[in-house]
């Protein structure tokens, strides 16, 4: 039975359990639903829940565990063979899996019988040709060991899936029967369903948390690997960024400072544009604009947030860059040599961030109670005095949060930088020079033929980790600010 069928059957058991559990509970109350502890739906749901949840849990665990188990068994059975030079046990295993998959396809297409696949040997069949015939191409001819491994693999997987199907069905039926037997008038089905919902919500939350932790660990391990190949001090304090892909090892300078500087510089200019413009437009929209202007202008500003960043990148490259060059370039002031520069990327990124700042600040300013404004106007304050002295202080924690959110966006932004800021890693104060950021360099280190064992590629993880720590720090700082003002004003 294939997996999708198995799932369907379990669902069918659950559906049947729902109907039967509901009916049984009703019957135990003599058909009067008021005599039940819970509404009839809860009894049905309870049975369905007992059919589905344990069965699917076992299914999930089995699906995760089976490949690991089978792999280790096959590996153990192959332990006596010697691995050729330039190869590894991992490569042998992937050969085994390819051959096993190929045999599956061959059996499915009828190119050989199930028995033949089990008893096949390399002496009397050319496996490579056979599998080539059914559309599975192999890189080299199949060694007897690999074939033996593949056959063990198929055998174990086959047994595994039969056992799994049986087990899952038994658990589903057993769960349903257990809950069905308990469906009588006094059973507190409603409370059990409530618990089930709690479990569902908790598991959703833990998926989010666990994924974050997983990502963090993946970054962490690769970062540690990188620091084994490249000294951490050189990475953190190196002022030169010059990776070399050809001369592997030693020849690269992988100092993060120029990238960090570029990141901060560009983000700084972006925030310099986005914060005043965004904040002022939020104040205008929420405090001064008539409802009509507001209903038109707010969506227009929010459209800015929907534009893909690659479009902003093009805008930087093709429009803003040339304009800046014509203003500050060789012909006039001579500050700028090319269109790609910190200023170009910063300005465009600032435009991109305006809707973040303005839309969040607008919501926050609107959330300040009208009574606060009334109090201020009632004392004879003007509108701008009210905004400066009452509304902004009250909204400050939220606004700071909005700005820090925009800052994390700026630090993490990639496309605009790739297209607008140039590729040169440089430590310079001149905003009209090309510079580059951490994100842009992660992209360039991993595109193309990256060898994931070299420091030049692994540095991407260290850069990613740096970004992660930076944004984490920003968020913690934001929380701190928000909490500080909460304490004061709530």
């Amino acid at each position: 039975m294939s997996l999708s069928w198995l799932i369907l059957v379990v669902l069918a058991i659950a559906a049947m359990g729902y109907v039967m559990g509901r009916a049984r509970a009703l019957k135990s109350a003599g058909g009067d639903s008021r005599a039940l502890h819970s509404l009839p739906v809860y009894y049905g749901t309870n049975v369905a829940m007992w059919a589905i949840v344990p069965a699917f849990a076992v299914l999930l665990v089995w699906l995760l565990a089976q490949p690991i188990f089978v792999n280790s068994r096959v590996l153990a059975s192959l332990s006596d063979i010697t691995v050729a030079d330039g190869s590894s046990m991992g490569l042998v295993m992937s050969d085994v899996r390819r051959v096993a998959d190929g045999l599956d396809v061959a059996v499915q297409q009828g190119a050989m019988t199930v028995d033949a696949a089990r008893t096949l040997t390399t002496e009397d069949t050319d496996i490579r040709e056979l599998l080539g015939g059914v559309g599975v191409a192999l890189g080299s001819s199949v060694s007897p060991d690999v074939l033996r491994g593949a056959q063990t693999y198929r055998q174990l997987t086959g047994i595994g899936s039969v056992v799994m199907t049986a087990l899952v069905l038994i658990i589903a039926l057993g769960g349903a029967a257990f809950a069905y037997a308990r469906s009588d008038a006094d059973f507190r089905a409603r409370n059990v369903v409530e618990k089930g919902i709690l479990v569902l919500l908790v598991s959703a939350a833990s998926i989010a948390v666990l994924t974050t932790i997983g990502i963090l660990f993946a970054l962490l391990f690769n970062t540690i690997e990188f620091f084994r190949l490249y000294p951490a001090a050189d990475f953190f304090f190196g002022t030169k960024w010059a990776p070399s892909f050809s001369g592997r090892g030693g020849a690269s300078d992988l100092g993060v400072l120029p990238l960090l500087w570029g990141t901060f510089y560009i983000s700084f200019i972006a925030l310099l544009v986005a914060v005043p413009v965004g904040l002022f437009s939020a104040i205008y929209l929420s405090e001064y604009a008539s409802p009509r202007v507001r209903s038109i202008a707010k969506p227009l500003i929010e459209i800015l947030a929907g534009i893909p960043t690659i479009v902003y990148g093009l805008f930087a490259l093709l429009t803003v860059g040339p304009i800046l060059v014509s203003m500050f370039g060789k012909d006039t002031l001579g500050w700028m040599s090319g269109g790609t520069a910190v200023m170009t990327a910063g300005l465009v990124m600032g435009i991109m961030l305006i809707p973040f700042v303005s839309s969040l600040s607008d919501d926050i300013i609107n959330a300040v109670p009208q009574a606060m404004r009334d109090g201020s106007y009632g004392l004879g304050a003007t509108q701008s005095e009210t905004i400066r002295q009452v509304i902004l202080p009250a909204a400050l924690p939220g606004i700071v949060g909005a700005i820090l959110l925009a800052a994390s966006r700026a630090i993490g932004e990639t496309m605009i930088v790739v297209l607008g800021a140039g590729a040169a890693a440089r430590l310079s104060l001149n905003p009209f020079e090309a510079m580059t950021t951490i994100t842009a360099k992660i992209v360039s280190q991993l595109t193309g033929d990256a060898d994931f064992a070299s420091p030049e590629a692994l540095v991407a993880f260290a850069l990613g980790m740096t970004l992660f720590v930076l944004t984490l720090g920003l968020n913690i700082f934001a929380l701190y600010i928000v909490r500080k003002y909460r304490e004061q004003y709530d």
Binding site: Y377, G380, Q389, D490
Partner: protein, 265 residues
């Protein structure tokens, strides 16, 4: 209302401070104030009474143009303070509100320290010459608001951290700090205990020497205690307006009589 003490009242008439004529207020389609005309005297406490939702707050807010801040609200008619039409385009509502202070129905301290709450108005209007002057204003206002003793040791704690009744007195202190000529108080004692209420009533009496005070209240006893004039509103109409003693002892309108004896409301 048998226990009401109707105090000796000075019946000499004062100048008219606020003259309202044919005032109508609409909230969108709701007609909240219908044809109200009333003359509020200087150096007098005027009480607005009436059942909930009859438009007391609405009318009060017309007097310092606070209704301007509500989009759907339309005010027509003629309201004059010191014979100056306050809805005249020449009149600056900001200036007007500095002159006509207000204590709101719900306490609304700013998210600032107690000190800054009270100092807000004086700072905006430049009433204090220097820091010690401002300190004096703050202390005097808090004393008048009957809250000084409770907050004098924590002037720099947030005003929002006070209890509801303390917040209300803070708002009273904040309103008197700007020395308004007219003080509009919308149920200033609704959250106060009897002691604080007595103190606020004392303050109202004291303010009367120089200012005109309008107070909305649901307490008949309070109206009788503090006011010289009483206006009874019902469903947006001004039903009866006159000497407090006369309204409470000898109302002319049957609706007034049923309300103050507790039969409608």
């Amino acid at each position: 209302m048998n226990d009401m003490r109707i105090v000796e009242r000075d019946v000499e008439t004062n100048d008219v401070k606020i003259a309202a004529k044919d005032v109508q207020v609409h909230y969108g389609d709701t007609h909240a104030i219908k044809d109200v005309s009333v003359d509020i005297e200087d150096k007098t406490v005027t009480a607005f009474i009436g059942p909930s939702g009859c438009g007391k707050s609405t009318f009060l807010r017309c007097i310092n143009r606070m209704n301007d801040t509500i989009d759907v609200c339309r005010v027509t008619g003629d309201i004059r303070i010191d014979d100056q039409d306050i809805y005249d385009p020449k009149v600056d509502p900001v200036q007007l509100r500095a002159k006509v202070g207000m204590v709101f129905q719900k306490p609304n301290p700013f998210p600032k320290s107690i000190y800054d709450n009270v100092a807000y108005g004086p700072r905006i209007h430049g009433l204090a010459k220097n820091k010690s002057d401002l300190d004096d204003i703050v202390e005097r206002s808090l004393r008048r608001g009957a809250i000084w003793e409770e907050v004098k040791d924590r002037l720099h704690a947030p005003g929002t951290g006070l209890s509801g009744g303390q917040q209300q007195r803070l708002c009273i202190a904040r309103a008197v700090a700007t020395e308004p000529e007219v003080l509009l108080m919308d149920e200033p004692c609704s959250a106060l205990d009897p002691i604080a209420t007595a103190q606020v009533e004392e303050l109202i009496d004291e303010l009367r020497e120089n200012y005109s005070v309008v107070i909305v209240t649901h307490s008949m006893q309070q109206a009788a205690r503090v006011s010289q004039k009483t206006a009874f509103f019902h469903l947006g109409n001004l039903v009866e307006y006159g000497e407090t003693g006369q309204i409470f002892t000898n109302p002319t309108d049957p609706r007034t009589e049923s309300y103050i004896t507790g039969r409608i409301g």
